[in-house]
Amino acid sequence: MLFSILRKEWIKLKLYLYLLLFLVTVLICYFAYNINYAFATIEPESMLWYKFAQLQDKPYFTLNYWYLVLATVLAFAQFLPKKVGSRIKIMAHLPLKMQDSLFLHLFIGAVFLTTLLTILSLGTLLTLYFYYPLDIVFIGLKDTFAYSFASIILYVGLCSIILEKDIKYLFLKSLLTLGFVILFIKQRYFLEDISWLILLLFMPFMALDSFYSFKEQRVKSFLYKAVLVTIIPTFIYLLYGNYKTNYAKSFTNYYIFYSNIINDFVYQKNFAGHRFEYGIKNKEVFDRKTYEAYLPFVYYKNLEIQNRLPIKIENTLFDKEIIKSSRLSFSYNPISLEPQEVEIYPLLNPQKDKGVIKFSEEAFSIKSKKAVVYEFDNKINRDLSNELTKKLTENAFSYPAINIWGKTTNMKPFDKGYLVQDSKKKLFNIKRADGIIEVTSIKYPKNISLAYIDISENRQKNLSGYAIDTNNQFYLLNWDFKFIPIDTKEFNYKTMKLQLLSNPLNYQIRYNDGKNYFAVALNSSYEVIKTIKIIKEK
């Protein structure tokens, strides 16, 4: 039976399969050409590794739509003429159980599809292999596997849509199939995405239900109905969440600043649509002009245009240069907690006789037992790999690294390197300058568990960034990575965004979870001088 149906489907689909194979070949060639062109026109080539690892710019991402196109063409070619030409009746009258007949057809279609997907994936991965480190090729393997999975689910879902006779079921099945595509196609896949495999078990039964509809029957299994009843509300919930995360407009409701004119916080309340309210909490509301006047360090450009600079505050004169050079901004978003998908980091190499940091040719990765330094021409730079491994060993580094934090761009005035936490939670600074790799142990407060560190090199050379521990304690890092605890009450690093701002007189940290807005003003010794909390009105 299998052979007979396989022969029939092959005869029917072979022209489509040849065309799709041609399409896949063109796609692979076009992808390879594009990658080659990208690497030929960029210097250094590791910039593209950086784009992949740090910016999640995956060169093959748009190919995922073609995976879906393959599934769509095959599903329609296989089942639409059957339905339109009523040949589905022949299929239903074959002396086979209906489920056997349908599952054989689906299995054969899935085999054809998988063959095409495998060729496309292998072509993509082979191309990646020539240009990217193996770490990235493995991510490519994971992603192309996910795209193939999405393609197969879409194929079965579309088959069930094409075969369905009842408009109500058609709508539901379309919702599930398209909902799956919307939810599943994304930049990055996680271990929990394995739970989508349940659809691979469910979807064929959804298609069988559609095939039964030709005989005005339905799948009667309790399990099928139970899964259907569970999946539909789950999908609606997930789609709503997806919409909220990716498409719904969100905005900050309160911008809070510490005013050195009135030594109090002023706020700008955002009603959206360019409607604002300005004021001091529980005191007064005023116009924009007054608001800006209270914040001379924020709106100093207005003062400059009005020829009101330098301005005298607390018996000190502040001109434009002083204000500008004092400005500093660190920001934190809980999404930063998500570790990088591929742990490859540019190994910058600033030269003391050059003002601009050149983007490095090499990128490093810390494996389970050693460090590896990649370079484009030789794939692995053995000398640098050995040097970095040796320096880590000399500093009693315990493999593997559990966290690597640092600013990976070269668009910064200095390079402080990376702060790397080893498996025993010791902290190390790894950096390279003038061709020499340095690894130094960094002390941090005992009995804390680090949640996140941000390094943000700046010309002030006063603060190098910040750290957050798992007890929501916020620390500023001085230029030598000394941890300075800051009293940020009610800060929750899992739910709140945070921003540090500075001016010639103060630091200000503000943080919010979208409902509760906090701000802390600090003096130049990082002591709290004032705090505020504003709860968003409903």
Partner: protein, 251 residues
Amino acid sequence: MVVMVVAEIVKKKSNKSVIEIRNLSFDYKNRLIYNNLNLNIYKGTIFGLLGKNGVGKSTLINILMGYLKPKAGECLIFGENSHELSNNTKKSIALLHEGFITYDYMSIEELEKFFSLFYNNWKKNLFYELVDLMKLPYTQKISTLSFGQKSQVVLGTIFAQDAKLLILDDYSMGLDAGYRRLFVEYLKEYIKNRDKTVLITSHNMNDLENLIDDIAIIQSGGRVHLDTMANFNKDKSTTFEDKFLDFVGKY
């Protein structure tokens, strides 16, 4: 709507039913097709289901093959509910779909090979006897054949199944008079000396006059007239077709 009642036809030569229709009712929304229809088709009978286009002949075939569900009543084929036919029963039914639907993208020999694997009693020679009459290469695609040629290929697959029951839904659709006559002649030749039961539907009366034993004339509004062919056609002063038209015209 007035509802007609049906008389049971009693066959003398055999009383073993191949198809039993009990209290069948069916409608398309407000359009009544069948109301409380009772009908037996006995083994060895050539049964004609006649009626104008659109009165519900194919609907009955679709109900019998399980593509439509009766609103009331039941249909049994070889004693099995038409909605739950076993594989063995399906093998016993050679079904000609309205419009000679088949796998047009296959060649003649590919079609034969495909179906042959599903039927234990497949008679390859019967298939090729019909095909050879057209002197066509076996490699020719069905889609490139004329409709008449295609009808013969499809009929070949029906005969080759060597099924106990042949259900032929509107065989005359799309065929010119020559191919219709050929179709009936081949069918007569095929069932001669073979113990086959045939249910054939058509709106073309003349071709069937010397073929069928019993008739059911289906009229709009759910009326069905059951009779033996001999009884319906006993008055030789008018043709079968005229009698049929007269009969249908009364309603």
